[in-house]
Symmetry: C2
Subunit: 369 residues, 2 copies
């Protein structure tokens, strides 16, 4: 049998994730595997927690990576916090808000939603009105809606939610590491993220952080968390305290990679990293415009790291993406749901967010369009 | 800040997993990350499925790795198959059987158990008696009980279960790749495994396989699977068919590592691999005996890859493990639950199962005991 790995080639990853991975992170991934209870590994875990706290701007003790890809972070937040019958409000303006609604329903929550047109942001005033007549256990939204390129106004929504008894849950999968995520200042009670976007680590881990109020909700459940693998009441005993109790075998080498990815971001400095994303975004918008490629989202609400670009009339969506991939080794993303065939999703995430990559994409577009 | 990864050293991993990883697998892990919908990656996924089918001796179409460590494979099997009120029988003779009981209860199953003394195998006749007066949806047991070193008689139990309407669920986390796992011949309806034992791949993935009867049960559920991340009705659309529908971003680099680990096992030949485990086990028993280190399990039921060794009277359990780790760079495992302080768990799994490693452990033991 032919070994397919031998013909895997380096690609310029400009889709909605995974993003390009730095050599330092590949090297970390291939460091020798050690035991999940080895004191050396405990040191590494402790520093991963500290670096995540720093990047998330939080003092939350329960800040750690879950052993699964970004969506397992969503699962962790919902399954630990929701008990059957709990009333939750999901704010939806894209695929990843819809996904939250689906999951909350599976767990027996009474789900209310507020929906906004895809490509436009969540409106804090509408949230305020909705909260006025209701008593929710939780309000949830997506910070960076990867399906549309919209940056939701999390700070403004948090100002509304904090005056209600509801916990505030935020999906920061695509935002973390690319724009500020201020967990404490924005009164977030639970957040989840992924490693394969602006952290530029291969997919496989989901950082989460829980406030004390969220921890209290979990610890005072009437029933066990209906998920053994993601039960934070047990996972916390492995990630904290003097006695690290075995729960499941941690994904050692993936955690090495996350360690290095966080290390690199903090060494570059978060301000510099955010600025690099902003500049890559502006450069991208500038080079695409003359080619007739316009943005879906209004200027004030655009994400820097995920750019929804309208596909020009008559252009062959799949054919162009395929040519970029095959002839130029550049991956861009297709539209999802109602935006399929209408937009391309161009990521400038993490290590990908560099001027030479935008130039390379522009050159390729000029040939295939 | 000091980079802790720089001081990670190669260890001889002789605990209950993770096991030693071959250089080929480390190299695979660090291959360039590509997109989860890239046609090249789909080829890799297809071959992973085919290699898993070969190693598991099954024609099951639904044979794929779940994006989490071994325990997420357990979660996947239970959460997809169980609906509230389903009657299940769990056969328990160690920690991992107890864990199944815990999980089934969380999912609303009516759980019956048959318990056997830890260190002894499950008794098929007792199972037969239990099945006679009952109507279970599922019977579950652990093939290789990692907490005790017992090999449960799966073939014999399967002969009993197949005459009942129950589905047969087997934990093959520690057995797969070290001893034969004959999914089809043993009428297993659902199995789960992990990568960090005899597959000698770092922890992070959980191969699972479902028979047609198990797939039918999942597809005919009255309610959605109460877990979005592990819902096989959606995951299958990413792993099969002409249109690979995005579900969650696959852990690309971990899947490279699993690909290579399976590739290496099939290249060596499964018979040779099993023989290598058997010989390592026999060598281990032989060298430990003169040092007064006896086995917990009776000869006919010992696992080759996980050896439960009785700690001699008066020996300092934690102190000796610490000296092995610190002075000799060898990790062995502690006892779990009622066997804590009574046994050491010595793994000869996958790449670890080589004569020179047994010699090195014997030499170290001779100095620390």
């Amino acid at each position: 049998m032919k070994n397919q790995l031998e013909s895997v080639e380096e690609m310029l990853l400009m889709g909605p994730g995974p993003s390009c991975v730095a050599q330092t992170v590949y090297q970390a991934l291939a460091r020798p595997t050690i035991g999940h209870l080895d004191p050396k590994f405990i040191e590494i875990m402790d520093q991963i927690k500290a670096m995540l706290q720093q990047l998330m701007n939080t003092q939350n003790r329960l800040t750690l990576p879950i052993s699964g890809t970004g969506s397992s972070g969503m699962e962790t937040c919902f399954v630990n916090l929701i008990e059957p019958g709990d009333r939750v409000l999901i704010l939806i303006n894209g695929v990843f808000g819809k996904r939250m609604e689906d999951l909350a329903g599976r767990l027996g929550a009474q789900v209310d939603t507020l929906e906004f047109e895809w490509g436009t942001p969540v409106d804090p005033d509408a949230v305020k009105d909705k909260l006025a007549g209701n008593d929710y256990m939780m309000v949830a939204l997506v910070h960076a809606e990867t399906s549309t390129g919209v940056c939701n106004p999390v700070a403004a929504v948090s100002g509304v939610v904090k005056d209600s008894p509801a916990l505030f849950l935020v999906d920061t999968v695509t935002s973390l590491g690319g724009i500020p995520v201020d967990v404490d200042a924005w009164h977030m009670d639970a957040v989840y993220s992924g490693t394969q976007k602006c952290l530029s680590c291969p997919p496989g881990l989901a950082p989460v952080s829980f406030s004390q109020a969220a921890v209290d909700k979990v610890m005072n459940r009437k029933t066990k968390v209906p998920n053994w693998y993601l039960d934070l009441t047990m996972i916390i005993n492995y990630w904290e305290g003097a006695q690290r109790a075995y729960h499941h075998t941690a994904p050692i080498n993936m955690l090495y990679a996350l360690y290095q990815a966080l290390f690199d971001i903090l060494e570059e400095g978060t301000k510099n990293v955010f600025q690099r994303h902003k500049m890559a975004h502006e450069q991208l918008v500038d080079v695409l415009k003359p080619m007739g490629l316009d943005m879906l989202v209004a200027p004030g609400f655009r994400l820097p790291m995920l750019n929804a670009v309208k596909i020009p009339q008559g252009a062959d969506d799949a054919g162009i993406r395929k040519r970029l991939l095959t002839d130029f080794h550049i991956e861009i993303g297709a539209g999802l749901g109602p935006l399929a065939g209408k937009i391309w999703r161009i990521g400038v995430m993490g290590h990908t967010a560099r001027p030479e990559n935008i130039d390379r994409l522009a050159q390729a577009f000029s040939e295939v369009l």
